[in-house]
Subunit: 221 residues, 2 copies
DNA sequence: GAGCGGATTTGATCTGCAGCAACTAAGGTG
DNA sequence: CACCTTAGTTGCTGCAGATCAAATCCGCTC
């Protein structure tokens, strides 16, 4: 829900959302504290979001609490744009996150009347689908080590191969993304560390230096 | 490749493909024998397909042969319509399958110039995405019994709750769709049979009568 | 900077599913 | 119909990863 967050500013900005619609669109900025819900599964899809800073997880739950994270969204990424009227999963801020928000209605109408808008919407959905197809292969057929290696390489790629990979999410989040337990993720990281594929930077376990991307890619079957 | 199949007829027909484009489109009918490839991963996406009869599986492979089936396509379903230029997975006929084929190029151009076409293309991609999201939850977090129950209910639903559910695919196909082994699928079916959730009809193991859809739905967490 | 609570690692044990093997059943062929 | 090939079931054993438990570490707050 929007009201639980403090509005940092409400002003028109342009960015990817505007580019998607092919023209300037009125947006507002919002901030979500770590762990807070951006929207819930089944809620009406009223807004569309683009991350300015921070990270968001989207997930589905089973009745007994088992959780599957579909995807993590990082700065620049858009999420929450549904074709139907309601959200098909829940979105939460992994860490303190600033987002740019715009109303779905205006955006979709604009897109329907403009060529480039419709096709970039389509491109967005297609990229999501492509990611999901790859992730099904990972979840259905890869081993724990292969999954963790693939995850690190995916994040490394999306962040533009930084020297230090700063993970915004916990081991439990990674586990729920990879269909594993947090202990198994932790053990896999330790194995990769022992094999000099990576090293932890500084005190934290959340800052990782990838020492052998090629070796990791071989793990990622 | 198309040339390996025998062309049953080349004539304009209308159907869902035409409806998608918002007008009549020239299509041909093709037939694929059981186990033959419709198109391969990485191939240029030249055609779009709609199943008249039979069934098709689409899948990805890992280097060592592990296979993950994304989805099964049944009569009426369309597949092979990519946004990019190449197919992201392989498609094979599960059993003898007749399809309606049209060139992607003409279809996409038609759609770009027509409102309804673009939005039904979007609807198609969105449905695929939605299916993938649900399947990730299954692959990441459900038990073997839950997966098999979910599979049977999915097929039952898609075939319109027939009295006898005729499975076109083998236990191995089901296993590769559910991220299990064929033995585990077989055992799960036996358990559900012993629990009177289902029964095999006639001689075959491919004809199943669902005796307790509600009970199955409870397994499907 | 001392103390607290959550995050992570690591170890020990357990278990659901995989892997292997043998058997049975079913469809296809001459 | 007899044969053969492929699909499916079932039993047995093994293992990857889950679960349980403990110790350690880290960031946070006061």
């Amino acid at each position: 829900m929007l009201l639980r967050t403090n509005t940092s500013s409400i002003r028109p900005v342009d960015g990817h959302l505007a580019a998607l619609a092919g023209e300037r669109v009125v947006c507002s900025e919002f901030k979500y504290r770590r762990g807070t819900e951006v929207f819930g599964e089944g809620e009406e899809a009223e807004y569309v979001y683009q991350i300015i800073s921070g990270a968001v997880r989207t997930y589905k739950l089973l009745a007994d609490g088992r959780r599957q994270i579909n995807s993590f969204h990082l700065p620049g990424d858009m999420f929450g744009l549904e074709n139907g009227a309601t959200h098909r999963f829940t979105a939460e801020a992994v860490i303190e996150t600033r987002v740019r928000i715009t109303r779905r209605r205006g955006l979709l109408e604009t897109m329907q009347s403009r060529q480039s808008g419709a096709s970039s919407f389509l491109g967005l959905v297609t990229r999501n689908l492509q990611h999901a197809e790859n992730h099904m292969l990972l979840l259905g057929r890869k081993t724990a080590l292969e999954r963790v290696a693939a995850f690190l390489l995916e994040l490394d790629e999306r962040l533009g191969h930084p020297t230090i990979l700063v993970l915004p999410m916990s081991r439990r989040d990674i586990a729920d993304y990879l269909g594993l337990t947090l202990e198994t993720v932790s053990r896999a990281c330790s194995i990769l560390r022992d094999q000099k594929m990576l090293r932890f930077d500084g005190a934290t376990q959340r800052q990782i230096v990838l020492l052998d991307r090629k070796g990791l890619a071989e793990y990622d079957a």
